[in-house]
């Protein structure tokens, strides 16, 4: 086959067309990403708005020197909420449905000790198809069950399995397990490193 024949061949046309379309689409998406990307700051503001319904003053705490990795969760960011004295933790829970679930957890503080969880909000959940089935009601219910002395077990308070709970009906049991692990990790982290383990 000569060079001229190659450039006239169907194979070349196919490759050229496919590459052309890929190039145009790639350039288009790159340009659009520049305009439409959601920055981390914007994500944080949205999370605050979702949790508190208003803007609140927060201070980020450096946790780079701390132990942030637990068996079933990792701690990604920590903020002190100046308005109410609670801690806002971005934690990721393992053992989801093939993915990792990132959650914002508001750890409630009373007299300098961890007293429970005020609010949970899902931040990211790549690979968790059913995460959208976990309603805010189910998350609020989980927050109420959170106890600093007992770990949550897959969405249930330890040793008190309650059939017919909110999330059971949604079919998102694995995602709920990952969220529970994130909540456990957040409470554990705040207890051990910020509140100095004083939990009485």
């Amino acid at each position: 086959m000569t060079v001229k024949q190659f450039f006239k061949s169907t194979a070349f046309k196919c490759v050229a067309t496919l590459m052309g379309i890929l190039l145009v689409c790639g350039v288009f998406l790159t340009v659009m990403y520049g305009f439409l990307q959601v920055s981390d700051e914007e994500r944080f503001d949205r999370a605050i708005q979702k949790i508190y319904g208003k803007s609140v003053e927060t201070t980020q705490i450096d946790i780079s020197e701390k132990e942030t990795s637990f068996e079933y969760s990792d701690i990604l960011e920590l903020y002190k909420v100046e308005d109410d004295g609670n801690y806002l933790v971005l934690a990721s829970g393992k053992e989801g449905f093939g993915g990792v679930v990132e959650c914002w957890v508001v750890v409630k503080m009373e007299n300098g000790a961890v007293a429970g969880v005020n609010k949970i909000s899902v931040n990211k959940a790549n690979g968790e198809s059913y995460i959208s089935k976990v309603s805010q009601g189910a998350l609020d219910s989980l927050a109420q069950k959170a106890d600093p002395d007992e770990e949550l077990m897959g969405g249930y308070k330890h040793g008190t399995k309650e059939p017919g709970g909110d999330y059971v009906q949604t079919g998102a049991s694995y995602s709920m397990r990952a969220i529970s692990n994130a909540v456990n990790g957040a409470m554990e982290f705040v207890k051990a490193y910020v509140a100095g383990g004083n939990n009485q």
Partner: protein, 216 residues
């Protein structure tokens, strides 16, 4: 019948992608437990389907037959990624509620099916009408089933609480499956009834014409 009217009626009713062709089953079963999610998914598909039909129809002479499917997939994936960016930026609540199903639009059989069966054989305008009609047919079917599932499963419609009595199963994919099956049965029954009556009317008219001719 005007061809655009025919294309529109086929997409909306007689070849409704969800209820007659049973396409796009994955998002249907995954999302109809909430009317808002179902309508959101439907409207996203309308936009992507219409745009993909237009682009594929416009490029049909440029794309060699041997690589048409990969080219269609690239175009559809680009549109879906663009739609995801738009939703994440401007409608984050809807983006969250659609979850992983939004990315799965890339492999939605309705979009690839219409590209392969219609857009690469028809003009840009016809393809646009087909995309719009099929997308709206999908949206209407999903929204109606979403309303039924949400009403029975959560006692609400579009998030508006209506009653306290609920049947939990209808908030799960199992309940969605039952509602989907019943909707297909009901829709097929109505279409069959309509076509049967149409045939009876046509036969009656033909018989009357024949009698008129014999009398003359």
């Amino acid at each position: 019948m005007n061809k655009y009217k025919r294309i529109t009626l086929d997409g909306l009713i007689f070849q409704n992608p969800t209820l007659m062709l049973v396409l796009g089953t994955c998002p249907t079963l995954g999302l109809i437990s909430s009317a808002t999610s179902a309508a959101g998914m439907g409207l996203t598909v309308v936009v992507i389907l219409t745009l993909s039909n237009i682009i594929i129809s416009a490029l049909k002479k440029l794309i060699p037959n041997e690589v048409r499917i990969p080219c269609y997939i690239v175009v559809i994936a680009t549109l879906v990624t663009f739609a995801r960016m738009l939703l994440e930026k401007f409608v984050p609540d809807l983006y969250d509620s659609l979850g992983g199903f939004l990315a799965l639009i890339v492999v939605n059989c309705i979009i690839l099916g219409r590209a392969e069966a219609f857009a690469n054989k028809h003009t840009v305008l016809e393809s646009a009408v087909d995309g719009l009609a099929n997308g709206l047919g999908f949206t209407c079917a999903l929204t109606v089933m979403g309303i039924v599932c949400e009403f029975l499963g959560s006692g609400s419609i579009f998030g508006l609480h209506i009653m306290n009595f609920t049947i939990g199963m209808f908030a799960t994919p199992a309940g969605s499956f039952i509602i989907y099956g019943l909707s297909i049965a009901l829709f097929t029954y109505i279409i069959n009834l309509f076509e049967q009556r149409k045939r009876v009317n046509e036969n009656r008219l033909a018989r009357e014409n024949l009698l008129d001719k014999e009398a003359a």
